[in-house]
Amino acid sequence: MQTAISVEKIREDFPILKRKVRNNKQLVYLDNAATAQKPIQVINAISDFYTNHNSNIHRAVHALAEEATEAYEVTRDKVAQFLNIKDRREIIFVRGTTEAINLVAYTWGRQNVKQGDIIVTTEYEHHSNIVPWQLLTQEKGAKLEYIGVNDDGELLLDQLETYLATGKVKLVAISQMSNVLGTITDMAEVMRMCKKAEVKVLVDGAQSVPHMKVDLQQIGCDFFAFSAHKMLGPTGVGVLWVRKELLEQMTPFHGGGDMIREVHKYETTWNDLPYKFEAGTPNIADVIGFSAALDYLSNLGMDFVRNHEIEITKYALEKMSTIKGLKIYGTKDISKRGGVISFNFADIHPHDLATIIDEEGVAIRSGHHCAQVLMERLDVAATSRASFYIYNTKEEVDVLIKSLEKAARLFKL
């Protein structure tokens, strides 16, 4: 059992949190849903690789190549452990969630989706779980359908039932946590419906994996995608997990080095999994850096992460509810949401709000958050979004509240 972990101690691992920005204001970083900050352990792991072990991997026999290859492959084992994946060969390293989903659309999608088929997604998806399916369905003459969102920011899963009943659904592509509303998708219910209908499920775990315990064997989906940079890891690394039976049938995506077994002039055979889908020199140093991020989160424990975020989010929701004219989107039920709070403040445009509070050192995001379909559903052009992680404190929430009050004064609310 973990004894009390101190957030003050965690903060010491993140050098950037000492930054002063703008007019020498202490940085308050509340843009974690966009990307997380990196602990010194991750930064050092990358430096150490380049300082001591740098080499290309898999193909050479010299000492550095051996060290680099081993460190790279160890990360795959750690990912398997982190998400309770049975077979490490199901894990493919990509650039991020976006590439992971596009890889599925270009391979499994092009192979399996036919004219008249339906792909179901949701109104609260990130563009990276919408646009690849638009491109695919348009190319194939298939249809894209959306599961709606109710006023509490929750999915109307009845609609999924209706789509599935047509018998034409080939894939349900759904995120486990909305990056705008923070809503946690009821994956058990989604999987129950889809298993009954024998429909494949792709889960966008970009927001869930960094913030809560995720167990892929328990979920039982077919494809799973997430990004390292949102969970303390470096940019340029993501993971696509695919159930072995499907992965074995998938045609390759990129052609090139490492993904081949034998290349002849007019015919080529493919390498074993997962290498068949990792063409070219991968992002070696950052995959190795990602190891350190996984270690960091494992040491904390994902229960700690989730509980800390519940505490901060609850506190922030309470404080923000007292501000007149401030509208919060999504459910107030803390058990059903992650540490993401989207809001609008009277008639102040989110960009103006973000600029004003940035002057106080507070970094939040404003805009459509790559979720324009959801913006249309909410009937807003944009929202402001504060999102929390392991190093955020209640004192930082207080600074946010204060800066919102300043915005109110400037805009004479």
């Binding site: 103006d352 404003s366 805009g367 052009a381 944009a382």
Partner: protein, 146 residues
């Protein structure tokens, strides 16, 4: 790094709530639409041209206070001007009016979206209706704004 502390002065806030020349023109001589993919600001302009002058101009859409204020100022400057004079409008003519010369890079797009739309609109008009072969320079200029 410039400071944005003084950006949100009274004039900007006022314009954002009560923009000038806001609305639509039915059957305009010129219309153009563009949006800022990074933040979702979206602007339409409508113009009537009479005797080579902008006899009327309106803008529509949604955007932040900076976008609304700059669009307002832009339409105020343009209204009644000859096309030749409109072609000469520079970004600092707009930004200067509102004290926004030091605006940070990301927000400059909010400030200049409507000017970009204006220049593209005029370009389209010149190229289509007047067969102006120099119109391309304007297009270049518009695309180079930010």
């Amino acid at each position: 790094m410039s400071s944005n502390a003084d950006i949100y002065h009274e004039m900007i806030v006022e314009y954002s709530r009560h923009p000038s020349n806001f609305g639509k023109i039915e059957n305009p001589d010129v219309t153009y639409h563009d949006s800022n993919p990074l933040c979702g600001d979206s602007i339409d302009i409508f113009m009537n041209i009479k005797d080579n002058k902008v006899s009327d101009i309106k803008f529509n859409g949604r955007g932040c206070a900076i976008c609304m204020a700059c669009s307002s100022v832009m339409t105020e400057i343009v209204k009644g001007k000859s096309i030749d004079d409109v072609k000469k409008i520079q970004k600092d003519d707009i930004l200067g009016e509102l004290g926004l010369q030091n605006l940070q890079a990301v927000r400059i797009k909010c400030a200049l979206l409507s000017l970009k739309v204006l220049k593209y609109g005029i370009y389209t008009y010149l190229a289509k209706h007047l067969n102006d072969t120099n119109a391309d320079a304007l297009k270049q200029e518009a695309s180079a704004l930010y």
